[in-house]
Structures are given as structure tokens and as C-alpha cells.
Amino acid sequence: MNLFQNRSLSLPGFFLLLLLSPVTAFADMAMNMPVGVSTISREIYGLHMYILYIVCAIGVVVYGGILYTIIKYRKSNGQEPAHFTHSLKVELLWTAIPTVILIAIAIPATDTLRKIYDSSESDLDIMITGYQWKWKYEYVGEGVSFFSNLKTPLEQTEMGSTIEKNEAYLREVDNPLVIPSDKKVRFLITANDVIHAWWVPDFGVKKDAIPGFINETWVKVEKPGHYTGACAELCGRNHGYMPIEVIVKTPEDYQAWLDSKKQSNQKQAAAAQEAAKKEWTLEDLVAHGEEVYETNCAACHQGNGEGIPGVFPALKGSKIVTQDKKAHINIVLGGKNNMPSFKAMLNDVDIAAVITFERNSWGNNTGEMVSPADIAASK
């Protein structure tokens, strides 16, 4: 039993691994479903192991039978073939036994399913919205919401990068979701553009995010910690680059975090207003714009501003970016085709900075500056 405790192996694969490699090399690698940290994830894990054992047991019978037959009844052993063609008795037997096994699986599975569908009152509701390619978390009724972008630097993820990768490569975001432990947290999941799926293995939670519809799921995490996941439904070019990071805090710490978040939201808003009034220089705007660009724009228009031919337009040398300033501002504010509107996602300073950056990079030498006031005026 111990053998199967930590890894999911069925028979041929197990022998294969034995042959292939010192098994120890794989010992510390994740090979099985995580037990997880919620009641549901434990239930699912238990169910998974239960079916796995059953399947392995059937495997032993089937593969044992095949092995015995092909060793014993080979012609080279001088076997004479028998001539029987059917037997109602055994055929009924191997219809009946699997049926019994299936019932034995269906009962606990239904039980777990029922628990997952529990719709009792929650302590906290969070609305999760999938965007191409980031997540938005909204604490319903708390007035707190934010976007969560991939944090791994572009220089590590871009084509042919030889820079050493972070330990949390593709598993790190700028603003992780924060939830309290020991509370029932209800997730209302939807999407802005295409279908995404929100998956955190340690919670046993995966649900499709469908534009126009909300899907519900929930989690009650037992212990504080740091958990990661990723989008699980193909959602376009950067499907592989929209990870999920969740920090679970004790209810007290969570409350403190929420309060400070609310305050810092106000502070940020005040600071943004302050910043909007400030006299910006071209250099400052370009420098700030580069950061904004990496987080929000580079996924499509690429780090080098060349876009992807036929899919994402190049900004380098583009007419709009090098000439028509008004059109440039309008596109960033209003979006176009598959490009989202950034009006609500970024503040005036960020938008002004990123536009200024785009107009003064990759050989776009307009020397023009777009100020936060210009943005406010265009809104």
C-alpha cells in the first residue's frame, strides 16, 4: 500500500519507471494529485486514491491474465489450440462484476459531489473575472477590487531567453488573491472575453469562467499559506501566462489586510490624483510607461513593439503611434476589436505614461509627451 501512497502508478508504467530510472530521482517530484488544504480537496483526493486502487487491482488481474496466457499458451510450448467459442456463464460473470465495482465507485462519488454542491451561506463572496490574460478579483460588498497580472519578467519568458528563471517562474503574480482561512469563501466566476477556467489544485477548485454567465464554487481553507494555480482553458495566445496566486491568512490577518487595502486604495487614488497634477517630464513618463507596458501591453504587442503579424498589430512604426496622437489615446481608452478598454483598468498617469513610452520607443521618435491632463480631457 505504501508504495502507491505518494504516486499514481498503474502497473506497466510502474515497471517502466523502474526500468527507466532510479525511482528515487523522481521521489521528491510531484507525481500525484495534491491532498490539498480544503475539506473538498481532501475528499477529492480520497476519491481519486480509492478509484486508483480499484483500477490497479483490476490491472493486476487483467495484466496478470494476459501475461499468464501469452507465456503458457504459446505455440512454441507445443500447445494445441482449444476450440470453445463462448460461455454464457463467464460472459455474464464479467458483465456482473464490473457492474458491482461501478456501484461501489458511484456511491462515494455521488456523496462527494453532493458536498461540492453545498450552497449554504458563505462568509465572503469574491467575484473572479477572467480577462485575456489576467484575473480580476472583486471582494463583493467591500469595495475592493484589483487585477492580477503575471509577475515573471518578460526577459525570462520571451523567445530564446537564456536568463535564469525565477523559482516561481510562471507561478507569480503582482497582486495575489488574499482570503481568510476557516471561512467559507464563495467564488462567483465569470469572464470578460473568452472562456477561461480558474484552477487552484490545492483547493480542489476548478471552474469555467464563461462570458455572460456566472459560475459558483467555494472553498474553506484549513490552514494559512501560499497556493498557486493557473488558467485551465485555452484562451488564446497567452493562455499559459495567466497564473493564479492565493495567499490564505488567518481571519485576523485577513481583516487587517483588507482594511489596509481599503486605505491604500484611497491613498492610491489620492496619490494618483496628486500625480496627475504633478508636472511630468518626458523621461519620467517613459520610465513609468515602460513598466506599465510590460504588465499590460507586451503580451500582445510584444516587448519589441513589433506585435505578431496578422494577429497583434505592431506599434513600432505604426501610423497611429507615430502620428495621430488623438487616435492613439482613443484606442487605449476605448479598445478596438480584441483589445480591451484600459479606461477602467489604469489611471490617467499610467495611460499617459504608456502612450508616451510607445511614442518614444523602438525607433518611434516623436519626442511627444502625453500628459495625464490630456487623458482626463479625452475621457
Binding site: 451561506e121 473575472t129 479598445g335
Partner: protein, 196 residues
């Protein structure tokens, strides 16, 4: 030989009609799915408009002791340039009690905008018990430049609502459908307009 060939053709013809039938069935799945959704609450779609009579006949609110929290949510799809959201984030109602709430939409663009809001309910099983008497989602809403519009929603919760449901989340996703020509109804109509 001749007879055989004609037999072959006959059978091939019959099989072809099965193919045509199945192709038709693919399209029949669209209305079938709508009916199926309404019956089972699949995908959290709410039903169409119900008359006030129907509402009031089942209104014996005083007999009910249960209290249901109805939570209102909103989101903008893609590039909908609207400031859109519920006026009140939630209400507590008794099943059978008719309630009126408002959503607010502000047109942020410099042109007239036509919007369509699409409702979705969670938990799914609750969808069929949320009865709407009046809803801004029943038809397209046109917003003038800079217009701020209060849009009403009158509903009640059917008393048949299963016991275990104590909270219902109702989300509206607002779509900017201005590009679709004015008065030009979408071919596959908005879900809630062609029922009841």
C-alpha cells in the same frame, strides 16, 4: 444487376435523408437547449417575463418566514464603455414578495449607445425560481451621450424555492451592441424575450 443497383440507390437515399435530418437536429438543439435551460435552470439563465397577476396570486408574503438574500452583481463585457452597476448591492426578501430594485448605467462614450444586459443566476437551481415582472434586460437599452439611466427590475422569488437555498446571486453582464443596426433584432433572439 439492374435491380441491385436500384436497391443500392434506394438505401443510399434513405441514409442521406437521415443525414439531412441530423443536420436539422443540430439546429433544433438551439431551441431545445433554451427549453432545457429554462426547465432545469442550466447555466443560470432566468426565465422570461411573468405577469403581475401570476406574481400576486402567489403572494402571501406574511405566511412565509424564510428570508432570502438576493445579491446583485454587474460586469461589463469587453469594451462596453458603461459605468454599470446595481444601486443596492443586496436585498433581503421573503418568497412571494414583489421587490423593485435598480441598476444604474452611465454612457461614457461620445455617441449614442445601445446596450443589452444578460442575466445569470447562481446557484443554478435558483434560476427558475427567480421570477421577473419587469426587467431592463427584456429589451435593448439605448443611452444618449453622457446619459445616466436608472433601470428597474421588479421580481419575486417563487415560494417553491428549495429549502437549502438562502442566498441568490444575480449578475448582469452588459454588452455594447451598438454596432448591430438599430431596430435590427439579432437573429437568435435574446433569451428572455421570446418565452412566456
Amino acid at each position: 444487376m439492374e435491380e441491385k443497383t436500384s436497391n443500392n440507390k434506394k438505401l443510399a437515399f434513405k441514409l442521406t435523408s437521415v443525414v439531412v435530418l441530423m443536420f436539422g437536429f443540430a439546429f433544433a438543439m438551439v431551441p431545445l437547449y433554451d427549453v432545457f435551460c429554462e426547465v432545469t435552470g442550466l447555466n443560470g439563465k432566468t426565465g422570461g417575463q411573468v405577469s403581475v397577476d401570476e406574481g400576486s396570486s402567489s403572494t402571501k408574503a406574511d405566511e412565509e418566514v424564510r428570508e432570502i438574500k438576493v445579491q446583485f452583481l454587474a460586469m461589463n463585457n469587453e469594451n462596453a464603455q458603461v459605468d454599470f452597476g446595481p444601486v443596492q448591492s443586496s436585498v433581503v426578501v421573503k418568497p412571494g414578495e414583489v421587490t423593485e430594485v435598480y441598476y444604474k448605467a452611465v454612457n461614457l462614450t461620445n455617441s449614442i449607445m445601445t446596450t443589452q444586459s444578460v442575466p445569470s443566476v447562481s446557484p443554478l437551481q435558483a434560476a427558475e425560481f427567480l421570477k421577473k415582472i419587469e426587467c431592463f434586460c427584456f429589451k435593448n437599452q439605448t443611452l444618449a451621450v453622457g446619459e445616466e439611466k436608472l433601470m428597474p427590475l421588479r421580481f419575486y422569488i417563487d415560494k417553491e424555492l428549495p429549502e437549502e437555498i438562502t442566498k441568490i446571486s444575480l449578475n448582469y453582464t452588459i454588452f455594447d451592441i451598438t454596432e448591430v443596426k438599430e431596430g435590427d433584432e439579432p437573429v437568435h433572439q435574446e433569451h428572455s424575450t421570446h418565452q412566456s
